[in-house]
């Protein structure tokens, strides 16, 4: 950014000021019902079935929000995992199904416990909440993956939903789940890990798909508007990349 005489902070501020009006405009369109249909993301649409399978078999569903925490670089990914957990907790509470949530970062522990507690209260079953449903495994990614793999091996689980920040350690959990026939829905933003996820999971949420979770579950106008803003911004950035490439070729010639 120094090449064009702007600091990273200034560019970020400019981007923010450009995105905000678009977000508000598209949110108002979504509120007026002019947003159109959301494209299909099989992994997100299959989530209610994961809870359904769990209810049918009376076996718990495993949920992981990744190895990241709240407050670090992976906050956004962890937050999408927590948003999905809210949806799953509501569905599980409505059909009296048990979730087992594993966390690797202690900052996520009280939030995840609170999500399950509130879901139980919302569905009039406050006695159904058990704080040990949320388990802090280990803060080191490899130790966390080993702990979750052990849990998948030993405890009868119908499915595993893992959405958040994962690295290479994912394979340890993913392959264990695949070997045991546990239905796995996995999403992460790291392109390196996505290849491993694609190879071992039943449904994969690729990169930005995980950020669409809220719009698919709660369908609030601002979430749908945010999704549309993301689509528009992607087209703008792609067009800018193509135009800059053409400009560079022409000026070099």
């Amino acid at each position: 950014m120094d090449e064009i005489g702007l600091s990273a902070g200034t560019v970020a501020l400019m981007l923010l000021l450009l995105i905000l009006p678009v977000l508000f405009f598209l949110t108002s369109r979504a509120r007026a019902g002019k947003s159109g249909a959301l494209r299909q993301i099989p992994g997100l649409e299959d989530l209610p079935n994961s809870v359904g399978r769990s209810a049918e078999t009376s076996q718990p569903l495993h949920v992981s929000v990744g190895v990241g925490g709240v407050g670090g670089l992976s906050t956004a990914e962890t937050w999408t995992g927590l948003t999905l957990l809210t949806q799953l907790a509501d569905e599980a509470a409505s059909c009296d199904t048990r979730l087992i949530v594993t966390v690797a970062d202690p900052t996520v522990l009280p939030i995840a416990q609170d999500i399950l507690r509130r879901a139980s209260i919302r569905h009039g079953n406050s006695d159904g909440y058990d704080p040990t449903q949320v388990r802090f495994i280990a803060p080191i990614p490899m130790a966390y993956a080993a702990g979750v793999s052990g849990m998948l091996e030993r405890e009868p689980l119908t499915g595993s939903v893992m959405v958040g920040s994962f690295g290479d350690e994912y394979l340890l959990m993913g392959q264990t789940g695949a070997r045991l026939g546990v239905h796995q829905v996995v999403g992460t933003a790291d392109p390196g890990t996505l290849a491993q996820v694609y190879a071992s999971a039943d449904d994969t949420l690729i990169g930005e798909d995980i950020f669409a979770a809220g719009a698919y579950s709660r369908k609030l106008p601002i979430q749908i508007g945010s999704l549309m803003t993301e689509d528009w911004a992607r087209w703008v950035v792609a067009a800018a990349v193509v135009l800059l490439a053409i400009w560079k070729i022409l000026t070099r010639a």
Partner: protein, 216 residues
């Protein structure tokens, strides 16, 4: 009560979040100082969360032992190890009065022994397993017999051949480099672009207080 339980915490979170964002974006020293103070406060609160994590581990595994689940012996070993390291950590926390120059805390030889002889080998072992798990994952993928799996198989074989061509076919390393530098990199950048936009918009929704999984 609803104001105290819901509105006030949410308003505080949004206000502090917006303040820290503005402090990061605008180069004003006073804003920066206050923003750093808020971040330091968050770090201290996060440190307390580690204590909650410790209590959670004890509670979960104590429950396994009490209920005599199938895995209770593992839980007993885990709690014993936890207690041992915790006690060792407490006793080695402060420098020895006889010789204050001796290392203390995590640098103490007892703690270092635990990390060098228990933690590091275990992590290295699990790390080494990943190579075999990658092969198993690839095998599982190829058994799906889909078009995507076939493309992946061809690309993997070409990259592997380029990596280990032993100079027999010079075109293979060139092909490997082209695959990695053009289609693979383009795909990766496309994913990262979407992730970056998704992160920005998730941040905006959080700061606007729209997405709050921690409250009704």
């Amino acid at each position: 009560m609803a104001i105290l339980k819901r509105t006030l915490p949410a308003a505080l979170a949004i206000a502090v979040g917006l303040f820290v964002l503005v402090a990061l974006l605008l180069p004003v020293p006073l804003l920066s100082t206050i923003g750093t103070y808020f971040i330091d406060c968050a770090v201290i609160i996060a440190a307390f969360a580690l204590f909650l994590g410790l209590l959670n581990v004890v509670r979960v595994h104590f429950g396994h032992i009490r209920d005599r689940t199938k895995t209770w012996p593992y839980s007993a070993v885990l709690l014993a190890a936890l207690l041992l390291v915790f006690v060792a950590g407490v006793f080695t926390l402060t420098p020895s009065q006889a010789d204050p120059s001796q290392p203390s805390g995590l640098s103490h030889p007892a703690m270092q022994w635990v990390f060098t002889n228990v933690m590091a080998p275990l992590q290295a072992t699990f790390g080494a397993l990943l190579a075999f798990l990658t092969v198993a994952a690839a095998y599982r993928l190829f058994r799906r017999r889909s078009a995507e799996s076939a493309v992946l198989l061809v690309v993997v074989l070409l990259v592997l051949a380029g990596q280990a061509s032993f100079g027999l076919l010079p075109v293979l390393p060139q092909l490997r480099d082209w695959i990695l530098d053009v289609p693979a990199l383009a795909g990766m950048r496309g994913i990262l672009l979407g992730v970056a936009l998704g992160t920005v918009l998730t941040g905006i929704r959080l700061l606007l207080g729209v997405e709050r999984p921690y409250s009704d």
